[in-house]
Point group: C2
Chain length 197, copies 2
């Protein structure tokens, strides 16, 4: 049912022709995922490219103390995959967990390779997609090494207003690399600064 979401997603890049749509529809597998369900756990190999058709996920690593450090959120029309594990076939160090009830579309490695080999436009589309995500990630690195926690929080709200409204502050803190307590401090300071906005 949800394959249409993926097909029209590609319209942002080079639209798929009818043949490409058909093959994609055949190869892709749709799954419904409950809240708090994992589609990847540490020490498992990441075997799928996952497209989020509905809902929201987080990808994170856990440290010795069990704290989560969130590498990426993915809501509708976004991809979420541990590409490193996917390529190497080695066990992942990360978790991918549903934050909301979700619907995803998954491609296995063999099927993705089939698409790349027989329909070169997929190479071009995925190249552009990941280039865009690479730029996003570069900006985040720059933020991380050059800004205070408060600046990063405000930038996050600014860049992802819809997403940040859906997330509990604990998870925003885990994404920014600060503790929930300190995020609470920051929020308090901000509301005192601009009481009427």
């Amino acid at each position: 049912m949800s394959v249409g979401t993926l097909i029209s997603y590609f319209d942002k890049y080079l639209s798929l022709n009818s043949e490409e749509r058909e093959v994609l529809s055949k190869r892709v597998v749709e799954r419904k995922i409950r809240r708090k369900q994992f589609i990847l756990q540490e020490s498992d190999v990441c075997r799928h490219y996952t497209f989020v058709a509905a809902g929201c996920f987080k990808m994170y690593g856990a440290d010795k103390k069990g704290n989560e450090h969130i590498i990426q959120f993915a809501a509708e029309n976004d991809w979420i995959t541990d590409i490193g594990s996917f390529h190497s076939g080695k066990p992942s160090l990360l978790y991918i967990e549903a934050i909301e009830q979700s619907v995803i579309l998954q491609l296995e490695k063999n099927d993705l390779i089939h698409l790349y080999t027989h329909f070169p436009n997929f190479n071009r589309n995925f190249r552009v997609i990941i280039e865009d995500k690479y730029v996003e990630l570069q900006n985040r690195v720059l933020q991380n090494i050059s800004s205070t926690a408060e600046e990063r929080y405000l930038a996050f709200l600014d860049q992802y207003p819809l997403l940040s409204a859906r997330l509990p502050n604990t998870q925003i803190a885990a994404y920014l690399g600060i503790t929930p307590e300190f995020l609470s401090n920051i929020r308090q300071k901000i509301t005192k600064k601009k009481p009427y906005s």
Copy 2:
């Protein structure tokens, strides 16, 4: 002369056939760059994909106080480009500067598009290249949000032993997101811990 470096670089991915080699050689422009010379400055548009055949570069953003925050180093057989500016055609916020005397090979946008359009293998090769770099960057983000400065420094030495030997500590600090003074503290603490290694 240095095009051979680039051609054999592609052997790590899908090797180029003779036609692809020939076209690439024709489209690529070789330049020698002196130390401290810029190939991109803030407010300029990034017009080239740049391959480093010899030498070393850094890409960084500057804050209001004039401090550098290094997003990426690139030594031999690596790419360095502000992809965001390159794609959008908008002015860059970044600098790319030679750390050593260098030789680069540059591709203009038109030429790169020509390669993508007529030789689909370039799409596939650049897709894989940037996927690898994406994974690297994700690991750096995870480090940044989950580790102390000391841990990040040790991880940097471990991951880039050759590179770190070529760089002054001030630039390593600007890459890690700490001050040179504090990096000096860390280094002192480390040598005291393991005096004989």
